[in-house]
């Protein structure tokens, strides 16, 4: 294991707090905007309700340079492989926000074309209900996510490791990981 596991506990907790603080206040976002929620995302990022004041300022339009994936709007089956590929292209640590009910659970489009929630494709850290959610709700979700990032131990950010930890703790049986097509 790395150096951080050989240091005494007191140093790593302070270090973890510092790393958590740094991570939560400098989120580079990748807005994966599809539908109407994109208008509210634009409104949240603009001058009146500003998410830049929370550190989440710059949209990095490349998944390789981003840590926060905002999935804004409906994802349908035609777009699902692209979303999975973009999630896989992001480097860890990475977090995902499902913005709007269509991304959280499929919204009121319960038909052949829509994925009923992107958590069926990629793991999600925060869900924002609303159709579309008001900008205040979006800021609330961002702050809750920041709390979560602050509290995360810094080697547990990978999805597989999180799942393994929950299996070890006996909370739930491990779900199957991604099945890559042959």
């Amino acid at each position: 294991m790395g150096l951080e596991h050989q240091l005494p506990e007191v140093i790593t907790t302070r270090l973890e707090t510092a790393v958590g603080w740094a991570r939560k206040h400098s989120l580079f976002q990748y807005p994966f905007v599809t539908a109407c929620c994109g208008m509210e995302y634009m409104a949240t990022a603009a001058a009146r309700y500003d998410i830049a004041r929370f550190g989440a300022e710059i949209p990095r339009f490349s998944p390789r340079q981003a840590d926060l994936l905002w999935v804004v709007g409906t994802v349908n089956h035609k777009l699902a492989p692209f979303l999975r590929r973009i999630y896989e292209q992001m480097a860890e640590p990475k977090w995902v926000i499902a913005f709007g009910v269509c991304a959280s659970t499929g919204g009121f489009y319960d038909n052949y074309a829509t994925v009923q929630g992107i958590d069926k494709i990629i793991p999600v850290d925060a869900y924002i209900p609303g159709c579309p959610p008001r900008p205040e709700q979006v800021i609330d979700a961002l702050l809750k996510l920041q709390e979560k990032i602050q509290a995360e131990p810094w080697d547990k950010y990978a999805y597989e490791e999180k799942m393994r930890q929950r299996e070890i703790d006996g909370i739930i049986p491990a779900p199957p990981l991604f099945q890559r097509p042959e």
């Binding site: 994966f32 905007v33 599809t34 539908a35 109407c36 994109g38 208008m39 509210e40 634009m42 409104a43 603009a46 001058a47 009146r48 949209p59 339009f61 709007g73 409906t74 349908n76 035609k78 777009l79 692209f82 979303l83 973009i86 009121f108 489009y109 038909n111 052949y112 074309a113 829509t114 159709c131 579309p132 008001r134």
Partner: protein, 407 residues
Amino acid sequence: MAHNITDSFDSYDPIDQDINNEPMILQMGPSHPATHGTVRFTLTLEGEKVLKCETEVGYLHRGFEKECEAATWTQVFPYTDRLNYVSPLLNNFGYALAVEKLLGIEVPDRCNWIRTLMGEISRLSDHLTSIGAGALELNAMTAFLYAIEGRELVWDLIEQVTGARLTVSYGRVGGLKDDLPEGFAENWKYVRARLIEIHAYTNKLLTRNRVFVDRMAGTGVISPEMAISYGYTGPMLRSTGVDYDVRKDHPYFKYGEVDFDVPVGSSGDNFDRYLVRMEELVQSIRIIDQCLERMKPGPINTDDPRVMLPNKERVYNSIEGMIAHFKIVFEGLQVPPGEVYSYTEAGNGELGFYIVSNGTGKPWKIHVRSPSLIMMGGVHKLFEGGLLSDIIPTFDTVNMIGGECDK
């Protein structure tokens, strides 16, 4: 000139033969910042020139038409909101007009005035978004912030009237959800002053800006015959010089009684489309002023008992009222069988609804003639022959809205 600089290139022939000059295929994929919403272009490039462009849409197909076949006539209104989601009121009223034609009912005067007014407010929001996002893509961030501030003010007004900022479901078959609130006229005066200021600022920042004009003028040119053949309408068609506006040619609601001009461009390029949209902002403000002056108090819903819910005193105190309310809500409005094609002017062009009814409370078929899908069919004509960097302003002024395009 006698001595041309390219004469000296003859000595470089052996090197040229090693250079691989096949065209390059580039995917401008579905998740791209410059494609509003999700469209995929497969571009064949030679250097920076676009030789061929294949468009692929459908990345936001949500099954609007299939959902509407399973919902009652009134339950379709939220789905129509999400079609052109920057101007949802225009879609609502277009659909309400189509169903009212099938039913053969007339709405009261005040309802038509309010529909005109709220439709124009929604059109303001549409044009501000298009201009703002267009400026953002060309790196004019300040103009974007001004336009979004203008849009927030318009959304404040919409929120006072309908209760929601973006997806409103304000129209109903046979009327509206609610009347205008009391302080609306004063709020409109304040917003109007601010909007005119924002229009002036954006004008100052962009219209005579050398960089902006260089990128927009002369790019994305289309001729009027090509535009009509490819089915373009709205600001795209008017920028080529064809004077077709559904509000003037086939007036509906109260457009026949208000006084406004329709801006028509001449050269069919991006800069003309930008100017058409800026001028339509001013004309919309003019229409709204006239509507507020000429509107008289009165009922806003028709009193046809087949369509209108009875008022709450009757619903709770008489059995007939309760049964009428129950039947209208659960079974849906009983629309007589038939079909109709009704069209209105949405933000992007002519939005048509072809509705088929089989006599029950649920529609048999609703087809949306969405201007954005039709435009995407012809957009390769705008890109081919131009540079890669001209795709960005062209696509912005086309203003394809994903929800409308993919239905």
